[in-house]
Symmetry: C2
Subunit: 176 residues, 2 copies
């Protein structure tokens, strides 16, 4: 096992992709013969893809939540000023995304650096919970009613659709 494999992704323990969206919709119930598919939806806001590497721990979560929710990435409609998703204010959709941790070897993605599934689920749940608390607390302060939705860890059947502006501040990347 190489050093990089042993410690996840070198000195990095989590990878986050942020995408601005005008709306995003997540299928929570597949269509069957008798019922239509069901969706949950956010309005303008931020989609947060999260992947943890080996070595990630709970002590990182507060910093991750702060970075994601307070980073000034969103353009206010009335001008050029960039504000955080809490200040926009906007909704948040969190998506577990273990595939983000892959490393391309030849033509195949290898996931040796990814955290184990149970541990990843635990950290993902903490991350979601702390984002929910931070947004709820911002809502109390500002009187807004922003929501946090999230994908199910390990669920492979979700369908996800987004409408996104590519206004030069669209997809961002953060490592922790």
């Amino acid at each position: 096992m190489s050093a990089a494999e042993g410690s996840g992704n070198g000195s990095k323990h989590a990878r986050v992709i942020l995408q601005q969206c005008l709306s995003a919709r997540l299928m929570v119930q597949l269509a069957t013969d008798s019922v239509d598919a069901e969706y949950v939806q956010i309005g303008r806001g931020l989609i947060v893809y999260v992947c943890f590497f080996k070595g990630a721990s709970e002590t990182m979560i507060d910093n991750m939540v702060k970075s994601v929710l307070k980073a000034r990435l969103s353009k206010q409609t009335d001008g050029g000023r960039l504000v955080s998703i809490l200040d926009l204010p906007g909704d948040v959709m969190i998506m577990p995304q273990s595939t983000l941790g892959g490393k391309l070897k030849g033509n195949a993605m290898k996931f040796n650096g990814n955290i184990q599934k149970e541990e990843g689920f635990r950290l993902y749940s903490h991350f979601v919970e702390k984002c929910e608390k931070a947004v709820a607390s911002a809502n109390v302060e500002t009187g807004h009613n922003s929501i946090v939705l999230y994908g199910t860890y390990g669920n492979k059947t979700e369908v996800f659709s987004t409408e996104s502006p590519t206004n030069g501040q669209y997809t961002h990347y953060i490592e922790f």
Copy 2:
């Protein structure tokens, strides 16, 4: 100037995010009082977000195109086998995404490592052209009719919408 700033992003010269999609639509003409907005669209395929750092050069492009088009990331509908986008076969939507190169300092994204705009445009154009050629050549071999669409470098008014499966092989990350 730190070493990291001088050389872009340390030893890395480009960052690519790949997202599987069921369809993706790109606005190419804003709606006005007299005309509706116009869109171009791909079907099932791959969205390729590309960002170049300082130090990136044309010699990397062939390897980038090969990695992106030949990486086995797409699940065939009839089974679990992963195949490349050329073998799926699927369409390709390329999106310039300079924001991907940002580094979070405090609550602001800094883009010191990004390549200069003119040079980035030149490399982006090469990347698009070589992807088009590779897909065209695969089409001749296979008899398929896959398409390559791409966003305009530096265009800030495009609106982008996608429908994506989150089947566990959805968002991938590659550095070059």
